[in-house]
């Protein structure tokens, strides 16, 4: 799945509905539109609920949303959900730190130094053509089916978006600003700190957002291979006992995890990159 998080994606990813709606359509009352946008999801949910309640949808195929929520409440109550969730989060965090850290290092090396570019970039460009989820059989041979497999998958998934966006972020910095900083007497390290790092930061945030998406995706696949804990394990186990509600709950948790991490990152981004608000206003 290395195909999705790529540097070509930024435009599509960055434009959230709220942002696109802001300038031209300000004339239409915003709260009214927000309500309107809620209508179809609510109708769909209601249709699903009633179809399940009337037996139109067989419960073993698709239980009612209220039942899924009840199951979630039950599993949250007895601590099962927290246990699996924490294990999943831990895998994601470790994998992301390893893959992202390495990507940051190599991306900076390739972006800043010509020799780094020549040595690092070609193999990375070749490796990104491999769909990393397709590496599962090979990874099982290499690292086994334990924790290492899950963490390696997450690390691989998050490596590429962070590497490419670090590289692009550094390369896109306006050379004229670097020059102006030089005339202000800034040495190499000071330029790195005051010009290169803040200049590449928007790109780094984008890379991180794509990487987190890739990390959850890798986790979904990784946790279906011989896991003893984790949301993926919960779902696989439930499938064996035909507990469709638990499978759906797992999906819901994965979705919420993705949504929440994206939201947190966007808040952090807005705080750190507050200088861009002025840029948008003009």
């Amino acid at each position: 799945m290395t195909a999705a998080p790529r540097t070509a994606a930024p435009a599509a990813v960055r434009t959230t509905p709220a942002e696109t709606a802001a300038p031209g359509r300000a004339a239409r009352p915003r709260s009214g539109r927000r309500v309107l946008r809620l209508v179809s999801p609510v109708v769909l949910l209601a249709a699903w609920e009633s179809a399940a309640r009337t037996g139109l949808l067989p419960p073993e195929k698709l239980p009612a949303p209220s039942e899924v929520l009840q199951t979630g409440w039950r599993l949250a109550g007895d601590g099962t959900l927290a246990l699996h969730l924490l294990d999943s989060l831990q895998r994601a965090a470790i994998g992301l730190a390893l893959g992202g850290g390495l990507a940051l290092l190599l991306g900076a090396l390739a972006g800043l130094l010509r020799v780094g570019d020549d040595l690092v970039d070609p193999p990375v460009q070749m490796a990104r053509m491999l769909p990393h989820l397709g590496l599962v059989p090979l990874l099982i041979i290499w690292v086994g089916i334990g924790e290492e497999l899950k963490i390696t998958l997450v690390a691989l998934g998050s490596f590429f978006p962070i590497y490419f966006n670090t590289y692009a972020g550094i390369r896109d910095i306006d050379e004229r600003l670097v020059e102006a900083a030089r005339t202000c007497g800034l040495g190499h390290l000071a330029r790195l700190r005051h010009v290169v790092l803040p200049g590449a930061l928007p790109s780094l945030f984008l890379g991180l957002r794509l990487a987190i998406g890739a990390a959850w995706l890798s986790l979904v696949v990784g946790e279906q291979v011989n896991a003893q804990t984790g949301i993926g394990f919960l779902m696989m186990e439930a499938r064996e006992f035909a507990q469709t509600d638990v499978v759906l709950l797992g999906l819901l948790v994965y979705a919420l995890l993705g949504l929440l991490s994206d939201l947190l990152l966007r808040i952090a981004e807005r705080r750190t990159l507050s200088w861009r608000r002025g840029l948008k206003a003009t």
Binding site: G185, V195, G199, W275
Partner: protein, 239 residues
């Protein structure tokens, strides 16, 4: 390229035999130039004559040039674009790279001098073109330079703002007494601001003439028109 930061006391900048070529094209073919302390020198030339290339070399931004340049210990550059870091507030842009005591107070004083005493907390993107260029001037000024290098600093501004900036330049120069090399394509600007004009053509300085006008100057001063015609002719424009 030899570079030193001390010259003799009668000049603030001395450059000798400066050469620069891009591939086969020779842009600067042996330029010699001295600037005295407190002297404002305008460097004129058609587009592509190498004015900006020369300024970049004097600023120490071009490692591939040959020749010798003796620079003052403190010099500062103002470019045509403001080149403020968009992620730093105005005050932090002005104090960029400054060391020593009360950096902020010095930066604030410089901002006040360019007429922006209360924009210290603004982001560069919130400023107008003229304001941003004022901040760039403050950023240069706060370094207390013996020599200011200006690369068409008012070229991108509208006519009214440009006139105001020229007045500002004259005032700051009177107060601080810095020397300046002003790259410009605007003959009027050169004659209003400079003590001496240089014309760059074919990679060499082909003219080096004082401006014998007293301050304050205006374009309808006696003798202004003649100097203007002469310089325009030198630049290949006949009225």
């Amino acid at each position: 390229m030899a570079t030193r930061t001390e010259g003799d006391l009668s000049t603030v900048l001395t450059a000798g035999g400066v050469r620069r070529s891009f591939g086969a094209a020779v842009v600067l073919d042996g330029v010699d130039l001295t600037i005295a302390p407190g002297e404002v020198v305008a460097l004129l030339g058609g587009s592509g004559s190498g004015k900006s290339t020369l300024l970049r070399i004097l600023a120490g931004l071009d490692p591939d040039a040959t020749g010798t340049v003796f620079r003052p210990p403190h010099q500062a550059v103002v470019f045509q674009e403001h080149r403020l870091l968009p992620w730093k507030r105005v005050i932090d842009n002005v104090s960029l790279g400054l060391t020593g005591p009360d950096v902020r107070a010095r930066a604030r004083a410089a901002l006040a001098e360019v007429g922006l005493p209360d924009r210290d907390n603004a982001w560069p993107a919130e400023l107008s073109g003229g304001q941003a260029q004022r901040v760039a001037v403050a950023r240069a000024l706060v370094r207390e330079p013996e020599l200011l290098l200006l690369d068409e600093p008012f070229g991108a501004l509208d006519a009214l703002t440009r006139l105001r900036m020229q007045q500002l330049f004259i005032r700051l120069r009177e107060q601080h007494g810095f020397a300046a090399l002003l790259v410009t394509h605007d003959v009027d600007e050169a004659l209003l601001l400079a003590d001496r004009t240089l014309v760059l053509e074919g990679g060499r300085l082909v003219e080096d003439a004082p401006v014998p006008l007293t301050h304050p100057r205006t374009p309808d001063d006696l003798g202004f028109g003649g100097l203007r015609r002469h310089l325009l002719e030198r630049l290949g424009v006949t009225a």
